[in-house]
């Protein structure tokens, strides 16, 4: 059975490394510091995107919105994770219900990915 793919988008290298360590046992993990890369891609799309809000360039909420609008990417599960106090509200306003508050417990990260991929 083909392994599922998770793309983690965050501008903090340490967070990307943590996510890779935690998720690569069960999934193919791709880490990106810029979200716009995924918007331009036509194939090799992930099954789930873990997305930070405050990113350099286009912010996470805008990327989530564009992913949801595009026919090819609209079925990808999106989880927003953020240290921003209004992160959950912003995600919800963009129609993203899956949210993980930073700092998170690693069990919570593994659980939310497993349940939604």
């Amino acid at each position: 059975m083909k392994r599922k793919k998770v793309t983690v988008i965050d501008d903090d290298d340490a967070i990307l490394e943590v996510c890779r360590i935690l998720l690569e046992k069960d999934y193919d993990v791709e880490t990106l510091t810029e979200g716009s890369i995924i918007l331009d891609r036509k194939d090799d799309l992930p099954d789930l995107v873990l997305l930070d809000i405050l990113l350099a360039g286009e912010d996470g909420i805008e990327i989530a919105r564009k992913l949801k609008e595009n026919k090819k990417t609209k079925n990808i599960s999106i989880i927003v994770f953020s240290a921003h106090p209004k992160g959950q509200e912003e995600a919800r306003a963009a129609g993203i219900e899956l949210f993980l508050q930073k700092p998170f417990e690693i069990e919570d990260l593994l659980k939310i990915v497993k349940e939604n991929i």
Binding site: D12, A14, I15, E17, V18, I21, L22, L54, A83, H84, P85, K102, P103, F104, E105, I106, L109
Partner: protein
């Protein structure tokens, strides 16, 4: 003799009149030049307005009211009748509040602290309303900037904590199979300290959240179970103090668990912090018809009665021979009190120097649900 009396009385009256004229002139100059807006009105309209009120307040002048939109502190649009002066005319009691005024034409915004007071005649009939308005726009903007700064700092601190916490948990997992108990113990201690740091940042964030009146995530939960779980979590981070739980409320509470937990943690952590020689902290739960009560008792340094009310104010710290040895910035109790206020709850303290303290929290229960 009679003539002398009359001339004395005349001289006295002339002197009195001069005094009155001087007083009137003084009052006029004060009213004219004071930077607060002052207006006097009766039911027919404004009968006096000083220069400052004409320049920035305008809200009390009938002709100008149509040019402005008014909002209360929560940002809800209100009409002129609901401003303090209008309310005093109806309710006949002193009214004070913060209001945002927006000029409809220019879009200019300013904040006013408005206080209106009734004046009654001998028959206790309301005859006039005096309104004093202070322009606090710069203060409000500074406050907003401060809150935005705190929010930004908190966000920036949370990001590295996220990876530190995760790496520490990853290492703990990797070493889980090893029999090195010491290493495991240190990992756990590291995790507890990271959680403490994270809680501190949450407290900082809550100061700004509470000011912005962000809604709480209220849900029903069993109060006794919640307290028991919280106490066991806090106990893990304590070396010397034993937390003893007595009694129960047997009630469900409708509230934001995270916020109530913050109050509880603050009460217990303070009890531990201010009883460095103490060995125990007693948490007593009790339930009444429409409320539930938490009492946290320590056997520490205690607090002099003159500080009892002030310690719930933001950034209030007690400096003394004994107390100045304790770290902190003085926001824990004020945040707890603000959360408590949002639930219509009460917080107070019974304490004497050298005799320990008992901090109380009394929460009203919306519907008395027995478990």
């Amino acid at each position: 003799m009679k003539t002398k009396n009359i001339s004395d009385r005349a001289a006295f009256l002339i002197k009195q009149e001069e005094e009155l004229k001087k007083l009137r002139k003084q009052s006029f100059l004060i009213f004219k030049n004071v930077s607060d807006g002052i207006t006097v009105q009766n039911r027919k309209g404004i009968i006096f307005a000083n220069q400052a009120s004409l320049e920035f307040t305008k809200v009390s002048l009938n002709k100008s009211t149509k040019n402005f939109k008014y909002f209360n502190e929560k940002g809800i649009s209100i009409n002129w009748n609901n401003l303090p002066a209008g309310r005093v005319l109806n309710e006949k009691v002193e009214v004070q509040g913060l209001y945002k005024v927006v000029n409809k034409k220019t879009g200019e915004e300013f904040w006013l602290n408005i206080k209106s007071m009734p004046i009654f005649d001998q028959d206790k009939k309301l005859i006039e309303v005096i309104t004093i308005s202070r322009n606090i726009t710069s203060h409000m903007l500074e406050d907003e900037m401060k809150n935005n700064f705190l929010r930004l700092i908190a966000h920036e601190l949370r990001t590295p904590i996220t990876s530190i916490k995760a790496f520490s948990q990853i290492l703990e997992r990797m070493n889980n199979s090893s029999k090195d108990k010491k290493t495991m113990k240190y990992f756990q201690k590291m995790d507890i300290q990271i959680s403490k740091l994270s809680d501190l940042i949450d407290t900082l964030l809550n100061v700004t959240k509470l000011k912005q009146k962000i809604p709480f995530k209220d849900k029903w939960f069993s109060f006794d179970l919640f307290v028991k779980k919280d106490i066991s979590e806090i106990q893990k981070g304590l070396n010397k103090h034993k937390l003893i739980l007595i009694g129960k409320t047997s009630k469900k509470f409708f509230g934001d668990k995270e916020k109530i937990s913050q109050i509880l943690k603050n009460m217990i952590n303070n009890a531990v912090k201010y009883s460095p020689r103490g060995k125990k902290v007693i948490i007593t739960l009790s339930g009444e018809n429409n409320s539930l009560k938490v009492a946290v008792r320590d056997f520490g340094i205690g607090i002099s009665p003159r500080h009892h009310k002030k310690i719930f104010k933001q950034f209030y710290r007690i400096y003394g021979k004994k107390e100045n040895l304790f770290p902190g910035v003085g926001i824990g109790l004020s945040v707890s009190k603000e959360i408590a206020d949002r639930y219509g709850a009460k917080m107070w303290v019974k304490s004497r120097e050298g005799k320990g303290s008992i901090f109380f929290l009394s929460l009203p229960v919306r519907k008395s649900k027995k478990l």
